[in-house]
């Protein structure tokens, strides 16, 4: 699925990713943990093609296809989805309109027909119910006036609707209370599938109690410095990142 090799990237002329390598095979969930400033969010933006995040070396491929050469929307059409740490407000655009426009843009890029209105609404009702989202809320402008928890839930709703192949969750647990965390995690877990992979970026181990990773990587100073099983997350929780900060 995702294969990253010796990836280097800089922001405003400052190198943030310094030769990062990572493999996420199909069907697996990998967690990326690391201290603040390690490059976690940078990694998510580089993979999704955000302006200002300049790749200076290395490769990133999704099923063998070069991701880095594509525009952000082309990557989305290939199935790359980023659940934002801070989801944006889109005034005047109802959530449903936003998602349907996005879905049809992706379908068009893949040469597929647009989704019909009844099929779209049926899908929306199903996923909204699963995530305990009031359907009326989906008629409101996306994220405008939503609480932090509602915004995160809306990210997972969009993810469920768009059914991407490769999911990046950037600090999805931040700003969530325990009930919201459970609902969001259930939503994410429901998406686990043999042909789908996830990269879960988090600062805290807590989220990994709910979304069980197959592997845990420690990102420090722009590199993966350690890789292990779920136990590694628990160790980090106990002992902190100091050891790895030194290793880097």
């Amino acid at each position: 699925m995702l294969h990253i090799e010796n990836l280097r990237a800089e922001v405003d002329g400052k190198e943030i990713l310094k030769g990062l390598s990572l493999d996420v095979p199909a069907g697996e969930v990998h967690a990326i943990m690391g201290p603040n400033g390690a490059g976690k969010s940078t990694l998510s933006y580089v993979l999704t093609g955000r302006q200002g995040y300049e790749v200076t070396g290395g490769t990133a491929t999704l099923d063998g296809e070069d991701l880095l050469a594509l525009d952000p929307n082309q990557r989305a059409a290939k199935g790359v989805f980023l659940s934002f740490q801070y989801p944006l407000e889109i005034p005047g655009v109802p959530a449903l309109t936003f998602i349907r426009t996005a879905m049809n843009a992706q379908r068009k890029a893949r040469g597929e027909a647009e989704i019909t209105a009844p099929a779209f609404l049926k899908l929306a009702r199903e996923h909204a119910a699963a995530l305990k989202i009031d359907f009326e809320m989906l008629k409101r402008a996306l994220n405008v006036g939503f609480s932090g928890g509602e915004k995160k839930r809306m990210e997972i709703f969009q993810m469920a609707m768009l059914a991407p192949r490769f999911l990046i969750l950037d600090e999805t647990d931040s700003g969530l209370d325990i009930d919201a965390l459970k609902i969001v995690s259930e939503g994410v877990n429901a998406m686990r599938a043999p042909d789908r992979s996830m990269l879960v970026i988090t600062h805290y181990q807590r989220l990994l109690d709910y979304i069980k990773p197959d592997k845990v990587h420690v990102l420090s100073a722009g590199r993966i410095v350690a890789t292990g099983g779920p136990d590694l997350a628990l160790e980090l929780e106990r002992e902190g990142y100091d050891k790895y900060a030194r290793a880097a």
């Binding site: 999704t48 955000r50 302006q51 525009d71 952000p72 929307n73 990557r75 989305a76 059409a77 989805f81 980023l82 934002f84 989801p87 944006l88 407000e89 889109i90 005034p91 005047g92 655009v93 936003f98 998602i99 426009t101 996005a102 879905m103 843009a105 992706q106 890029a109 402008a141 969009q158 768009l162």
Partner: protein, 489 residues
Amino acid sequence: MAAVKQTVEHVEALEKYQHGFVTDIAQDFAPKGLNADIVRFISGKKNEPEWMLQWRLDAFERWLVMDEPQWAKVHFPRIDYQDSYYYAAPSEKKGPKSLDEVDPEILAVYAKLGIPLKEQAVLAGVEGAPRYAVDAVFDSVSVVTTFKKELAQVGVIFCSMSEAIREHPELVKQYLGSVVPVSDNYYACLNAAVFSDGSFVYVPPGVRCPMELSTYFRINAENSGQFERTLIIADKGAYVSYLEGCTAPMRDENQLHAAVVELVLLDEAEIKYSTVQNWYPGDPVTGKGGIYNFVTKRADCRGDRSKVSWTQVETGSAITWKYPSCVLRGEGSVGEFYSIAITNGRQQADTGTKMIHLGANTRSRVISKGISAGKSSNTYRGLVSAHPKAKGARNFTQCDSLLIGKTSAAHTVPYIEARNGSCVFEHEATTTKLSEDQLFYAMQRGLSQEEAVQLLVNGFVKDVLQELPMEFAVEAQKLVAISLEGSVG
């Protein structure tokens, strides 16, 4: 091959200004320049009665001693009023009697613009499909007005201004210049002297006009000005919805468009006036050419509980100077102004409204959405005033500006005058930048950059778009997208 063809079509569709074609049509011009003889020439061409000629000559005398207004936030070289044609009309022996007699070239122009000039019957089985009566004004004259007979059956008069002067002089005499006085301002006064054509509407008491009325203005001739004059009278309890659209060819010279629109509303009358203005905006890089759109529009709510609603989508013109206003004279009368003004390239817009509360318990509402991109400048200028007698007057104003890119400018200049203690005026204003964060967010979900800009901008202008008649709203939405193409990136 299909893909290639599609690409070619797509690229053509991306053409910045889609109505920039010129049509080669035999035309009559008045000699270049402006003097009393030209005024007489125009009046004579239209077979106007003596009183109309005198009205024009009087306006011309006054115009000679007036000065151009300097207060707007727009800049342009001094206009040489002698270097323009004040009358251009397709050559015809006499005005065409029916559509069959109209020059096919002109019909082709309107077909190309997508304006229906045939009175299509309501589609079989489509109950309540909206129909539009159209008055098509080509340069200085009205070439055809549709559905006149059907409208006449309910007493609605819909014809060109020239025809109204000949056929309904009593109404014209009574109302022309009664809302916008001859010497109201420099451009309105010029218009009074040389106005060419425009639409005239009269809706009798208690009649709800059975269809949307629309006028489609097209400037075609080179170096010519367009000075149309529109007068709409809604008698007691009458209702009419009126739409106006405008386009022009791409030319290197600036062309002046100085129109006057007067609306008269008697007791409990209602007029909904919508404009989609898409005059040629000039070259986006050099700023060369484009229309100077200096327009005076005003509604006089003379009757109690009358209501007027202006909705405008302003995307074209090199310079827009325009303040559709409401004089709320009648007790409990209501004025509304909904505006989307988009500037891109080197365009300049100074637009807004005046809500003049004279009667008690009058209400007004202003929603303005300004979008500036490229190196353009976009100013909202609005006045809300209440006379001492306007007890209990209320106004709500919201003006939002959206900036795209780093070189565009937005300004908001509100004037508020409350001359009694019982009025409530609210003013809200915001200025936002279309953020790269929002764009990236939408693109990450699969939208291209252009699609993302469109979606965000449409969200921004939604409150105003929904005030437009359905089909116009769809057009306007497309126009908004076209106007902003290439504005990011």
